[in-house]
């Protein structure tokens, strides 16, 4: 193999106390597709954003053609031929394709030449797009093509794709793969950030896997003749250590049952279709899937925050149609949302005040229930701090000053005090350290003694540690429900997450 086009040496980046990247070494070669794998939060996107000049590294060097270079802005990186197609496209929606491209490459070409150059680049790489269309009129696939054309017109040698297929339809994915193949044969270097194994096996020449900010493996894919199973294992690090005692709990009555539940995703990503499952008191039912497979919309509909389109939902013995449920609002469900910083809590309010967010009914007092019982709120807050070992000075501390783990415990404690029949936890340990994760796991296990628990997560380790039954969601559909105690079946979860049903 020839010398690397670009090399990273000892790259580190910290966000506050968290190491997003630690001592990363990476070589990229021309004419090859390099897949960068890892779970959410493993540091893939951060690493590539550094390479593309959007973030600056705290330590380490970037070596381009044997010379040390520093990229302190995306423009500078592009000068060195490195460009990135972000998950959120950097396109101005109300402007046309030609205008967007002129904005970026206009200085290089005259205004008249831009149109000509667009057509030529588009033709050369098979990237059909109408220059006169406005961006908001384009499909996601077309927008992505505009981004690729943009990089090519700027003579990018290294093209980084951040989860390029997450917003695409299957035919668009195929088209993208053709383009990437073309780019490779033209001698470009491609970096593919992804957690979809299919793509890796289809496209990649080299593969790197990141876990918790570190690079655990980086080598050509042929080196190990890697199979899907091996990849899946490497990615999630299937060293599941059960550090939580899982007490036997008697399974009680059905708390929640969905039948043919379908609806739009109100939060981006695909819709969810024909979802059917039930949760009983005393069990943890997990829905696992790669982010963006419809689980966000599903949870928000179950929690009654958005309205599903079809199907029925049975809660505590009463059956509602999708519409009725949305309107009734699920006041009886405890819900720990994924976004603990902006949905689950209010950063500028005290812990005590945060206790009121979903529990106002319990704090009504005086004047026909118009007043707020602040004493009770403060007392509940203090009790939660004691009971869950939340590290703070007092209940008057602002939620924004808490660490992620402590904040999550506050939210968890609040939702627990609602004594709901159903408890939903959405990505409850994302971004938390090990000890906080274990604390939260313990709480969830305790919780199932009094309620049915719905755990929605992308973390395989979490699912295997906690669940009684596991539902795998892919592309909006619940592919299979697996008994967590059946170890043969459990081995298939990783593959099912990638949509492989063998």
């Amino acid at each position: 193999m020839s010398a690397p086009v670009i090399s990273l040496r000892g790259l580190s980046k910290r966000f506050g106390p968290v190491w997003a990247n630690r001592e990363v070494d990476l070589d990229l070669y021309s004419g090859r597709v390099h897949a960068l794998l890892g779970e959410n939060g493993a540091g893939k996107s951060t690493l590539m954003s550094i390479l593309a000049g959007r973030y600056s590294a705290d330590n380490g060097t970037v070596i381009r053609h044997g010379r040390e270079v520093s990229f302190n802005s995306p423009a500078k990186a592009l000068d060195h031929g490195v460009g990135m197609v972000y998950q959120r496209f950097m396109l101005i929606e109300s402007m046309t394709v030609a205008e967007n491209l002129a904005l970026t490459v206009g200085k290089k070409y005259g205004r008249q030449d831009v149109d000509h150059e667009i057509r030529q680049t588009a033709e050369q790489y098979g990237l059909a797009v109408d220059p006169e269309k406005r961006i908001f009129e384009l499909s996601m696939g077309e927008r992505q093509r505009v981004e690729i054309i943009k990089l090519l017109m700027l003579d990018a040698e290294v093209l980084i794709f951040d989860e390029p297929t997450s917003v695409l339809t299957p035919p668009e994915v195929d088209a993208l793969f053709v383009v990437i193949d073309r780019l490779r044969s033209e001698g470009k270097t491609i970096v593919l950030i992804t957690h979809k194994l299919e793509e890796v096996l289809k496209l990649a020449d080299d593969i790197s896997i990141m876990r918790r900010g570190r690079l655990v493996i980086s080598e050509p894919i042929e080196a190990r003749q890697m199979s899907r199973q091996q990849l899946a294992r490497l990615m999630v690090g299937r060293d599941v250590v059960l550090r939580v005692d899982k007490k036997e709990v008697a399974v009680g009555e059905t708390v929640l049952a969905l039948q043919g539940f379908s609806g739009d995703s109100h939060v981006g990503g695909p819709a969810f279709t024909d979802v059917t499952f039930e949760i009983k008191k005393g069990e943890i039912f997990s829905i696992i899937g790669v982010a963006g497979n419809g689980q966000a919309g599903l949870v928000s509909a179950i929690a009654g925050l958005t309205r599903a389109e079809a199907g029925t939902i049975t809660f505590a013995g009463t059956t509602y149609t999708a519409r009725e449920w949305g309107m009734a609002g699920a006041r009886e469900i405890a819900y720990v949302p994924e976004d603990r910083y902006h949905s689950g809590s209010i950063a500028s309010m005290s812990i005590a005040d945060n206790f009121g967010l979903t529990r106002l009914q319990a704090y009504k007092t005086g004047f026909a229930g118009m007043l707020l019982d602040r004493e009770k709120m403060a007392a509940d807050g203090s009790r939660a701090i004691r009971e869950h070992n939340i590290v703070v000075e007092s209940g008057e501390d602002r939620a924004g000053t808490l660490s992620g783990g402590n904040l999550q415990k506050v939210i968890l404690a609040r939702e627990l005090t609602r004594n709901a029949k159903l408890f939903i936890a959405e990505q409850p340990t994302q971004g938390l350290d090990i000890s906080a994760t274990e604390d939260i796991w313990r709480v969830l296990l305790e919780c199932r003694e009094k309620a049915g628990v719905l755990l929605v997560t992308g973390d395989l380790k979490e699912v295997l540690s906690l669940s009684d039954r596991i539902g795998v969601i892919f592309n909006g559909r619940l592919l299979e429900v697996i008994d967590a105690h059946d170890s043969d079946q459990v081995d298939r979860v990783g593959l099912l997450m990638a949509g492989v049903r063998s």
């Binding site: 209010i346 967010l357 106002l360 602040r374």
Partner: protein, 357 residues
């Protein structure tokens, strides 16, 4: 290299820091202007201070000016606690004045004070409330930007008021003077001990206390504050955001409407040009200087009132235009921004430790 970063945690006393830096900066701007005019800044500020504090009469004028400012400040603060902009307190004040004058003059002209005063007050609050509901409904139903609608409606209200007192409501015995007839004595607000301070002042203080407790102690207030701070959390908790837009703006408009009432029934005793002099806009400064804290609103309103009275004093003693108070008012607000910006950032000088500003 100096790097300015956004502070993750706001300073503990950020409001106080910002407000005091506002005062300092306004003071310095004043110094420059006075010096530029060849007047010793100390002489000028002394003249202003003397005008404000020299006598009970003088200081009472400060409270007279502060009274409508407290109301409009509360109006702006109410809306802003939910991150709504009520730039329309001026128009709501005008409608409060129109309704107060109309009620006193035409609806209940012969009634006793104990009956007519509450009626007039209610009418003015209702007038402001209804006027503020127009932008509120447009915002809640059609997502029309309330900054612009509240602002535009000010002009509509003022033009209509002028039409009334130049036209159909003009005092027939007024020798063509633009203004309505005087309202009946029963509708005059009681004044205190020979000053022009009326019942409106304690009423304004009462409203400030009321708003403070409403926001702090009621379920409604809690929801309003949550919506103002974090819309996503409010949606997660299932709060009715659109409903709150209506009630918040209604309360805001009611406060502003009462400002019109205390002006008409406490000062002018008629509807005339002097009613719309910008108290609605000043209320924005009062509210933000107070850090949107209802209990601080009377303080900043009195500060601004003192600035106005001091400015007038400057004109009569030193012959300097009283519009100096406008300049200082603008400088106060810019000073507030500077203070907020300083408090909101940390300045790092590379290689050294962090310098908190």
């Amino acid at each position: 290299m100096i790097r300015v970063e956004k502070r993750k945690e706001p300073l503990r006393y950020q409001g106080a820091v910002a407000a005091s830096s506002a005062v300092v900066i306004a003071f310095l701007v004043g110094c420059v202007i006075f010096a530029g005019l060849g007047v010793h800044p100390l002489t000028a500020y002394l003249a202003m201070g003397k005008g404000v504090f020299s006598s009970v009469d003088a200081f009472s004028e400060v409270l007279v000016k502060a009274t409508p400012l407290i109301f409009t400040g509360l109006a702006v603060a109410t809306a802003a606690s939910m991150m709504l902009w009520n730039i329309g307190a001026e128009g709501q004040l005008v409608w409060g004045g129109i309704c107060a004058a109309g009620t006193a003059l035409f609806l209940f002209p012969g009634m006793d004070a104990w009956l007519v005063i509450p009626l007039v007050l209610a009418a003015s609050a209702l007038g402001g409330l209804v006027w503020s509901l127009i932008p509120a409904l447009l915002k809640a139903k059609l997502k029309v930007n309330e900054i612009l609608t509240t602002l535009l409606l000010n002009y509509v209200a003022i033009i209509y008021m002028e039409h009334l007192f130049y036209g159909p409501w003009r005092d027939p015995a007024g020798f063509g003077f633009p203004g309505t007839a005087q309202i009946p004595e029963a509708a005059h607000l009681v004044r205190f001990a020979g000053t022009r301070i009326s019942l409106g002042f304690p009423l304004a203080l009462l409203c400030a206390v009321f708003l403070f407790y409403l926001l702090k102690k009621s379920i409604w207030g809690y929801q309003v504050l949550v919506i103002g701070k974090e819309q996503r959390a409010a949606r997660y908790a299932g709060f009715n955001v659109n409903g709150k837009i209506l009630t918040v703006m209604a309360l805001s408009g009611a406060f502003a409407g009462m400002a019109g009432m205390v002006e008409v029934c406490g000062i002018h005793y008629r509807l005339q040009t002097g009613l719309a002099v910008g108290y609605g806009y000043d209320g924005i400064i009062v509210a933000w200087l107070a850090g949107l804290n209802p209990l601080a609103v009377p303080i900043t309103a009195i500060l601004l009132g003192a600035l106005f009275v001091g400015g007038e004093q400057l004109q009569s003693v030193l012959g300097l235009p009283s519009s100096i108070s406008l300049i200082l008012e603008g400088a106060l607000l810019f000073g507030l921004f500077a203070g907020q910006a300083l408090g909101g950032y940390t300045v790092t000088i590379s290689g050294r430790s962090k310098v908190a500003s």
